[in-house]
Subunit: 470 residues, 4 copies
């Protein structure tokens, strides 16, 4: 089989026959068009051409392997074709946003001057592409829930105790039996490659150094395998499952991660459909306007094709997820296919916390998906407080975690005081790895540890067991 020329590939650019080039190999994606979670339009835009640039940051490298039958792998392009692509890529004029990012990267402050998670976010906002920052930071509707998640923490004050021995102060704990140097873990956060070419393994390596646990998302931009390979021998990783609507595909995925050595399944139930993240949806328009000026209404323009793309990046990622999970059906199924501990991620009220305890799961993660899903869902800290008031027995039956809105060590300590075993953070780790790679991740954990220990000492607590609802 001879290698393909660019002109040969260029002839296959329609729904009838659609080829694309990825990393100098040609693939026939004609049949796959309809199945593509992100819709066929985006593929057709690059039909008959090289699509590596847009493919890479949002797909695990083995995605094609898994989703495309071997017969559709049409083989490599010719050497001169590869050279042409490379030359073309070099000649592509950088967009205004890309130029901005290059300049901002040169002006990042030294890591030693990052004192807080807010500092880290400020740097990330400068050095991330508009699209990446919009995806990472956006939340649903008017982003009220996202703000309320954080504001909930401002409503709780400490009763600090004095005259207690705290020169020795140990903030470590265990999560589902695994050691954690502070009561903090990395909550699943997808598409780390949007911010840094190494993607999620930046986080994996930082967690290894600082001995905290990473929960890896189904939607990571690296495969579960690639991330596990980057991990330390003794390091604990959890897996965040977005269950496929097809039980067999889902089972295959669960068994794969169990075999890889992941230590728990966090079943995601707060994102069965995509939230309305307007900033994310708007981000390509903003970039277009930046480059080419505003687009005006033409009274006779064709109607928009069936809300295409209206759910943004998130919509594409979860298009095939199971929307009909139930306590009766899904938990027994999961138990039947895996021996790993099960945690339900996305509990948003006391009633469901009680149902989870009755269903016999091992833990619940109180979460509204960082305010990215249901606008006006209760802040997780409020739910935690309500469980303590209305159904305290839940804490005896399973471990309770929360995520959403945590910015300071005092926030972590408040959650632990109210009964949380540990708290998850997502965006801060994405920001940190985007700006400074592994070192940024380490820095985030160091900052949190320093803040947690200071708060514990000033409250008169020498270990996490001393943290109670006051």
């Amino acid at each position: 089989m001879s290698n393909w020329s660019l002109s040969q590939v260029a002839q296959h650019k329609s729904t009838d026959s659609c080829w694309v080039i990825i990393h100098n190999h040609v693939y026939d994606v004609t049949d796959f068009l309809k199945e593509h979670p992100g819709g066929p339009e985006i593929i057709l835009k690059y039909a008959g051409q090289d699509a590596t640039g847009v493919y890479d940051p949002i797909h695990p490298p083995d995605a094609l392997q898994k989703n495309l039958p071997q017969s559709k792998h049409l083989g490599p392009i010719a050497n001169d074709a590869a050279a042409q692509i490379e030359e073309a890529n070099q000649n592509i004029r950088q967009t205004k946003d890309e130029l901005r990012v290059v300049q901002a990267r040169q002006k990042m402050p030294p890591l030693s001057r990052i004192l807080s998670l807010a500092d880290m976010q400020n740097v990330a906002k400068q050095v991330l592409s508009h699209k990446a920052f919009a995806y990472y930071s956006s939340a649903s509707d008017d982003e009220i829930t996202n703000q309320e998640n954080a504001r909930a923490f401002t409503r709780f004050f400490f009763k600090a105790r004095v005259m207690r021995p705290v020169s020795q102060c140990d903030p470590s704990t265990t999560i589902l039996g695994s050691f954690s140097s502070i009561p903090v873990f990395v909550s699943g956060a997808a598409l780390a490659k949007l911010g840094h070419p190494d993607g999620e393994v930046n986080i994996t390596r930082g967690c290894a150094q600082e001995r905290i646990i990473q929960m890896v998302s189904s939607n990571a931009s690296l495969s579960p395998n690639a991330i596990m390979e980057a991990a330390d021998q003794s390091q604990t990783l959890f897996f965040q499952l977005y269950k496929h609507r097809n039980d067999e595909i889902a089972e295959k995925r669960v068994k794969e991660v169990e075999k890889l050595g992941y230590k728990a399944i966090f079943l995601t139930v707060d994102a069965i459909v995509a939230g309305n993240r307007e900033r994310d949806i708007r981000s390509p328009w903003v970039l277009d306007e930046q480059e080419y000026g505003p687009v005006y209404h033409q009274p006779d323009e064709p109607k928009t094709p069936a809300d295409a793309n209206i759910f943004g990046t998130a919509g594409a990622l979860i298009a095939n997820d199971d929307r009909d999970m139930t306590w009766e059906k899904t938990i027994p199924w999961l138990r039947s296919v895996s021996k790993l501990p099960i945690v339900i991620k996305g509990i948003q009220c006391v009633e469901d916390a009680v149902l989870a305890a009755q269903a016999g799961v091992d833990g619940i993660l109180l979460s509204n998906h960082g305010g990215r899903q249901l606008e006006y869902s209760l802040p997780p800290l409020e739910v935690l407080y309500a469980i303590r008031a209305e159904a305290p027995d839940v804490f005896n039956k399973l471990e309770v975690y929360i995520d959403g809105g945590i910015q300071r060590g005092t926030d972590v300590v408040k959650a632990v005081c109210l009964g949380a075993r540990a708290v998850g953070l997502g965006r801060p780790f994405l920001y940190a790895q985007s700006a400074y790679g592994v070192e940024g991740v380490v820095k985030i954990i160091e900052i949190l540890r320093r803040e947690i220990i200071t708060a514990m000492r000033l409250m008169g607590a020498a270990s996490v067991h001393d943290l109670s609802p006051n």
Copy 2:
């Protein structure tokens, strides 16, 4: 009868003899001056001249037919007179505000980029004349109630339920027995022609496409007949009655709309006198200043003539409405003249909700007229909440609707959770039809449907029956 010349008409420009030209016909309005709901001053300003430009956007086309005896229809003007008027109109310098609107219309974003009701309002603010936007958006006094209507929704959070089957999700309902594809209807909103030459029928046609119900105001800029004619065969329309103080005139109006096929009477009781809408009252002054600069106080200027015009557009519209309606008298009267279901629009406290149920009406619309009437009236959502707490039996006796302050699908879902059968929106539809005509109206409904379904799914609700006070 010869046709009139401009100089002939021009001689009749006083209270003794006052003629005006409308669409090239001459009318003698001398006797009508005193009866004009908007006061005689505004007519006298155009006495002896062509008044078509100011007449058209705020009167139904058949208004003269109905209000002026045939004997006062003096017949058409001469052809050369008509030509003179047309030429004069062409030579009129556009005002600064008109020029601004023309430019803004050319720069409207494509409809596909309108993601939310707020986006739509922002466009409307650009493309509406100052006067129209002031009339549509203004509210009474310091517009506190208008803001509180919306803020009330921010005080209610959801208890989202997970692990429930929601791949099938149906947001449809019925209102007084009529089908509605989402629990939303168009609340009566007057003077749509201020924003678009087609006026209220833009809304009618949009509702037909999307299968929701329109409530048509007595003060629409088109007649009930004209609107019904634009409607679909199977489409449901309700009529918002501003009852005339003269029972016979009111009866004639009711019987007319019943015959035309309107399916319910919404009796308006929250606007018996006009609210104090300062932005609306000020709008002609703002335009004057823009054009000619500020006007200064002259110590010896004549006193202002008896608060003329002090109630703005709204004052003119309702000058003849009945201010002495009572439960004992008005409901039986209305029952006696019509078989249509009766809904009281403008209930503002629990006590009156109970009285309405006792009076046996078919529904109540909790409303403070969009904050345009009594400043510091309770927000309708708070009243809804109070009825549930203090007089839940009301919900069994009649259907309860609310309007005021709704901006998002989550707002609709909150109201339905608290017991509302459906919610009304007014301003968003006026903004949408002003900017994009029928397509804008369709867009608003599509946005609301998408937001409602997303919220329902993320709450674990597959139909409106699953929406309860949590």
Copy 3:
């Protein structure tokens, strides 16, 4: 006796012999220096010179008559001296602030465009001198209480009732038996001449036209006599007494106003020492800086002389007031010297309202002096609400009024609903007379009447008797 030359007068410019010229007459004020309520410093600044310009706006014309024995009236100055003074006055360069005021006066909007009390205040802010606006508008410390007075009204919402006959709506009431066309009176406000040369009689004449009652302050810039002379035959005036520490002087004052025809005594108990009105104190410095630039600290400058002037305008006015009034002593004394009804102005808590009822006075005015005295005193509306809750019997024993923070007709209606017989307004009338004289005062009352009637009708109330705590 020959007439005085300027050089003769100029020799008397020390504490040993201190003469001043007022309206071309010479007065020996040497002995009076120590008694001057505003302190001797301000007089000595003008010793040996013409002081008419500073004397006029803050003293009743007969103040010298009353306070200075006839023997100290040294007679007129010579004609050429008078001419010299006049010429000097004409040559005085206007200050920047005076120029600003002259220009602003030429640009006042026509009175017909004043829609609200806020509009009136905005105009007054433009056309008043910096000093006058600072005196009128300032409040104590950080002006929190002043703001809270108004904010208290925003916490009360109406339960509007519908379906009630309100075409006839009468807002009139009586206060201590006297008719008032709306439940509003003018609360004592001093130094009206700072804003308008006619001073308090502007208010008197406006009240006459609109049939509401004026309460005249002891500190008015016109004498009680002059104001009564400007009044209508049938017009009711009340007198706001700042009791002199010397009972005999106080008695003389009370008997004088009773004889003049004032119909009640409002005994002021909330201003026994001056509040800390920093904007008022700072106003001369601001003007100095405007004219001559900032003053810098000299390390060796003499210490400031014993907090001179530190209490601003208000401190000067009340320096001789009685700081030791008690229920046991002062009320019986006042009853013994006058048959007029007694109202205590300045009740700030329920306990004192009860004591007032026990002391048998005829009314109480809940007031914290417009936030000009004790910072963090409770807002009067909150006190009114607390009396209703904790000591409702008070309302049966005397009439209750409130002032402070009222800006809208809805505010008036709220106070009446909560049990107030009437509400007092001060600053709005000062602003109105400053800008537009009598016509401005009339306008304020017309605005309030219109807003009160609109609110009453929209609430379903046909008279003040229908206004209850809902």
Copy 4:
């Protein structure tokens, strides 16, 4: 022994041999490097050189005497060396911040125009170096607690009483038996020399004049001895003890201050580790950037050495403090080494107030260290209010003081009404002495006295005994 030349000293600039010049004397600090509370790095930066400029403002003059054995005092430098140092100092280019301060000092307003504590802070902000203002004003994390301390006062309103004799009004009280002209004392505040060369004695002298009590910090920039020497014969001083972890060193310090005549020990328990004062930590970076522009991240830069300096100025000051104090151990120890009254500074909840009463101490100072330590610690005024509600007996067993957030005389009066014997202020005195020296301190007390008396009179209180929880 000959005197040292600069070149001789310059050879000792490493950890092996480290000499510094202070006030023209040479000291061998090689062995001391490890013990230096601020860490060895800062000393090594000046090793072999003159370090007087950085040493002076943050060390008491006798610090070297006490901390360095006599054998390490190497004697004076040669005369020409001293001259060289002086010349070099003169040639040092002033930094931009130093130039700014010089100019601002020339433009300070006259002291007579300072009306409030806020005015004083505004001046101080202008005339203090960036570093000093950052140290004085900074608080922990996001400075929420610092703001909440002040906001707590805005939630309490007065019930003012009228008709009470208040012409005589006496705000004096006693604190631990010592007279105080107002219920206010100076709460320990360190490093006054950062703002003024005379340092804490400015405060001592101002307190003497105005007869209030100063609490002197262990971390003052002058020795307890130097401050006592500046005091008046009859003046009362208290001592704020930061207990050294070594009991013997601590005992020596306590006995020293008792012997010097200090009248009470305020044992500091709210600052056993340093709070996270980001503005303080950042201040050297801000100054660097101002002078030399921003520093950028180098991907291969060495890691920062173990969080050096991460606790800022405060961290250095308290590095050797006792972190293991307990009620059982520390109070008896303190009683055993001193007969002075003991006050616990830093109580932050009711429970610890009760424990303090049980431990038999003489007083407690409710304090969260001005919001500089544990972020989200309860505001002291709220703790005071809670003690009154939950454990009122505490007030009978010991004296209760509060500090934090006080800006006005009304704040002082509120605290006294709620049961505080007196209130402490820290920052306002630092600001005042920085800007105006002794006179500034006097001014602060005069302002507070005037505001306190005005508030008491307007509340109907003639002495502090009349101030109750209303």
